[in-house]
Amino acid sequence: MAQPISNRKALHEWQLYLFVLPSLLLVLVFAYYPALSAIYHSFFDWTGGDFKQFIRFENFTRALGDKTFWASFITLAILVVANVVKMIPSIFMAVLIHRLTSDRWQYWYRVLLVVPMIVPGLVTLFIWKFFYDPSLGLLNATLDATGIKTLLVALDTNVLQWNVFREGVPIAWLSEPLLIIPSLILWGFPWIGAVGVLIYLAGLQSIGTEVYEAADLDGASSWQKFVYIEFPLIMTQVRLSLILMIIGSLKDFGLQLLLLGDGGGAGGRGMVPGLWMYNRAFTAGEFGYACALGLILFVFILALTWVNNTYVRVEK
């Protein structure tokens, strides 16, 4: 364990600390000041301009009774659960690449995964939006060409009774409340995220060959190697991904905003807390209230991160 140094020693070359100042200043101005400003403004009736009125905790009490805000957490919970499931293909992809015996092929697969990262996120969003176009979209064309549409219609008519898949009527993926959440979950299929795969690969590559040799001697199957060796040893990376995913899910709303608009789409089914915060700030002009919603979100993120750190333990 590193020994603590004395104050005298720490301050001996005090000038060196000046090098930290520019970065510290930037972090304070661009990270901490907006956050502190949001806390301050959450106690005001503020429309984003100069005029504001101190209203104590009114924004927070209002948020407690805000049906749309709390309903948006249900959508969020579904999406978080779906996102947990959507992490699995990346883990499997990382394992598959890791198990390739040829270094060259490993390299090229990694390249292939990284190449799509140069496509701007907005372009990806627009491409997916076009997939969902009822008349011209690829998704409906594929379902029609493969006959899956007929199956969906039969399923809807006989089992689901949703009245969303109808013969002769293109499926309106983003304007049917019942299809909005499935569409949001389907987004990004086959859910292999380059960043996730690279993070898991980094973890997998730290596993020594002697571990695999020992497993081979014990007659472990591929699946057993994954369950007993690989997955436990990349849990640090999985936990990191999980935290980032939960924070991202709570904060992000760009996908919903672009696909569905700031109202959350048909029936408001795509409304998530971040989008509601945006809606209140930029559509209703209630910046003070939006700050209060942001603070409530912050508390949730903090709590979930603590739960994650406490209960998702990594056995070394």
Binding site: S135, A172, W173, G264, A284
Partner: protein
């Protein structure tokens, strides 16, 4: 052990080459590219600095988000023409455009203004709250009473700049700020664009539809044609979140024309969200009202001819559907004419959105008739208060909105001119606004919250095209809360605006009273001054001092009369005030009786003769609805006994005649029947207390 070069695979050779030479070559290329970019950037900055450092050159910059084809060309031609005029009088001026995409304009607008780098002329509309307008922009009011010199030699010579606009700038007036912060330079009309060859193929020489029935017949013809020719993807109308409402809003609005009039107790012959909301709270209408039901059914009859789920599509998606021949028609405005003509690989023509006439057996019951167009102007620049060349920017704006400048712009942009008498190019004739008709009725959305509820539930209208009930039943319980939220937002804005206006007006009021010898307001009228202003008496005194020193732009005292530049309506109209108003002591009772004695003379509107009811109504709104205190002040100042002149109001009453246009006559009838205008906002507040959520 190293293998011989010939035994190496391609990848190994590639790796070897890269290690030996490739890295150096690629680094050199990359470094050279960076160097070239750096040199180009440096050269551009130096070139720009040279221009900027020329002290005799004045550069006017204008920003906008109008990226449709032709608009930038139009502004460019006007700018070059203006530069020539300046050069002829020995002034070096350059006018530059800064086009900014619509999606980011609001953010760009705010950051440029806050950062102090905004251009001289900034298009107003996205991100421009009242607060920002008042803080960052110079009002046009002080310039509008003077004639536009670029109209010399025309019949507009000597006419105040304001009165050269087709609506007398009534649509540009910011009642809350008592000023004009933008001058619109076009008139917007919407039309149905259609694919001409496809139309001929489907219908031969049949004329385009002129009413709702014919429009439905056309839609059915398209569907039949698609069936017969095995074209399942062909639709009658290309819809999108942007284009769909252009048809549906008109259809719905045709059914709520009468309802809107009934709702409106303030006698504004236009659509006022507060009035509609208060009428809803009073129980005067609901989603089950026959007018609303009729509007919903009318919309449903058209929705079925657009692509399913069109409400999820953006403007570009709708346009793509049309130009790729997946649909026969698309609704859009004159502003899209050039773009649609350029993008479509086929000739395009237009017709007016057909609406049910009053004689329509099913949908005629609630409609008053054709909806009037062009009653307002649109799209305008604001004047950046921090501009170092305000006067030149205003002068350029004068040229842009002169008859000549306006005609040049219309010719190149394909946008309608907003200046009286400006020639409309032949290609724009189909877009000429038809001002005959009645105002459009209300839609269900009255504010951000009710609009959200509307948007969220709209899909139900499309899902059950023969039954409006699922929509109606779903939206009803949500609408009440949404209206309440909208009303709260409106209330907050109004209260702030009133509060802001009360200070300078209070100052004027006090000044007027002091002119009459009253030593203190509280002694003269103990209950006359609203609390908010009364508490600010110290501030009011400072205001008076500032006004006397000429430090409040636009507001002057002239022999006890209030003159606020940019709001001449206040001094042009004459009001007779019921003396009991004063006897009652002010605001405890807001039943103020006013009689309109004089119709304000308006010049012809250029497109067609006749004054617009909206304008007259607008003037009433200015005077009556915004602030009871302002009303009281006006009453005090213009009563004739209190205007410092000692002369009574002398303009005789004028009865409406048959020669007046129908809107004015109708308005006058309404006024005669009531002969009293309530102070709307305080009435809302009173009534809101009784509304149970």
């Amino acid at each position: 052990m190293n293998s011989a070069p010939n035994d190496k695979t391609f990848f190994e050779k590639l790796n070897h080459w890269y290690a030996e030479k490739g890295e150096a070559i690629l680094n050199t290329i990359g470094f050279s590219l960076l160097g070239i970019c750096f040199l180009i950037a440096t050269w551009r900055i130096i070139a720009r600095s040279e221009v900027a450092s020329d002290p005799s050159l004045i550069t006017i910059r204008m920003s906008h988000w109008q990226l449709e084809a032709g608009v930038r060309d139009g502004l460019d031609v006007v700018a070059r023409e203006y530069e020539k005029i300046c050069a002829a009088r020995g002034q070096k001026v350059r006018v530059e455009q800064i086009p900014v995409p619509e999606q980011v304009y609001a953010n760009w607008f705010i950051t440029q203004l806050v950062g102090g780098t905004a251009p001289d002329l900034v298009e107003i509309g996205k991100g421009s709250s009242d607060e920002r307008l008042a803080r960052f922009f110079q009002p046009f009011g002080p310039y509008l009473q003077d004639a536009n010199p670029y109209n010399a030699g025309t019949d507009l010579e000597g006419v105040p700049w304001r009165n050269t606009f087709t609506d007398g700038l009534s649509s540009a007036y910011k009642a809350e700020l008592l000023e004009y912060y933008q001058l619109p330079f076009t008139v917007l009309t919407t039309r149905v664009f259609y694919n001409k060859p496809l139309y001929k193929e489907i219908r031969g020489d049949k004329p385009v539809p002129k009413n709702y029935d014919e429009f439905m017949e056309l839609c059915r013809d398209v569907v039949d044609y698609a069936h017969k020719h095995n074209k399942p993807g062909l639709l009658p109308i290309a819809g999108s979140k942007y284009n769909g409402p252009m048809i549906m809003g008109r259809l719905f609005g045709s059914q709520t024309q009468m309802l809107t009039q009934k709702n409106n107790r303030g006698l504004h012959w236009t659509n006022v969200p507060e009035e509609n909301i208060m009428a809803y709270f009073r129980g005067d209408w609901s989603t089950q009202s026959p007018e609303i039901v009729s509007g919903l059914q009318l919309m449903q009859s058209v929705i079925q001819y657009m692509q399913p789920g069109f409400i999820q599509l953006q403007r570009d998606d709708g346009t793509l559907n049309f130009v790729q021949k997946h649909s026969l028609m698309i609704a859009s405005g004159a502003w899209d004419r050039t773009s649609l003509e350029q993008e479509s690989p086929f000739p395009v023509d237009v017709f007016r959105i057909p609406l049910p006439s009053p004689s329509d057996p099913k949908y005629g019951r609630f409609t008053m008739g054709q909806i009037a167009e062009g009653t307002s102007t649109a799209v305008g620049f604001g004047l950046n208060r921090a501009s170092p060349n305000i006067e030149v920017a205003v002068d350029f704006y004068r040229f842009l909105t002169s008859r000549r400048g306006s005609e040049i712009f219309a010719q190149y942009s394909g946008w309608l001119p907003a200046i009286i008498g400006a020639k409309i190019p032949a290609k724009l004739e189909p877009f000429r606004p038809d001002m005959n008709g009645y105002p459009q009725g209300t839609e269900l959305g009255q504010g951000s919250e009710s609009n959200r509820v509307w948007d969220n539930n709209f899909y139900l209208l499309a899902k059950t095209p023969n039954d409006y009930q699922p929509f109606s039943q779903t939206i009803s319980p949500q609408l009440r809360d949404a209206f309440f939220e909208d009303m709260k937002l409106i209330a907050r804005g109004r209260t702030r605006a009133i509060s802001r206006m009360d200070v300078p007006l209070g100052a004027l009021f006090v000044q007027a009273l002091r002119t009459n010898g009253a030593p203190k307001v509280s002694e003269a009228y103990p209950r006359a001054v609203p609390t908010a202003t009364y508490e600010r008496m110290a501030e009011t005194d400072r205001m008076i001092a500032a006004m006397q020193n000429g430090k409040i732009p636009g507001a002057t005292l002239n022999g006890g009369r209030l003159r606020v530049a940019g709001a001449p309506e206040m001094v042009e109209q004459t009001f007779k005030v019921d003396p009991s108003f004063f006897a009652k002591g002010g605001f405890a009772d807001e039943q103020v009786k006013l009689t309109l004695l004089e119709k304000v003379a308006r010049p012809d509107f250029g497109f067609s003769a006749g004054a617009s009811a909206q304008y007259i109504v607008h003037e009433h709104k200015l005077v009556v609805t915004n602030s009871p205190f302002r009303l009281y002040l006006l009453a005090a100042l213009f009563d004739g006994t209190r205007d410092g002149q000692g002369a009574p109001a002398s303009t005789p009453a004028r009865k409406p005649t048959d020669s007046d246009d129908i809107n004015l006559r109708k308005l006058s009838e309404l006024m005669e029947s009531q002969n009293a205008l309530e102070s709307a906002w305080y009435r809302y507040r009173r009534e809101l207390k009784d509304v149970k959520r």
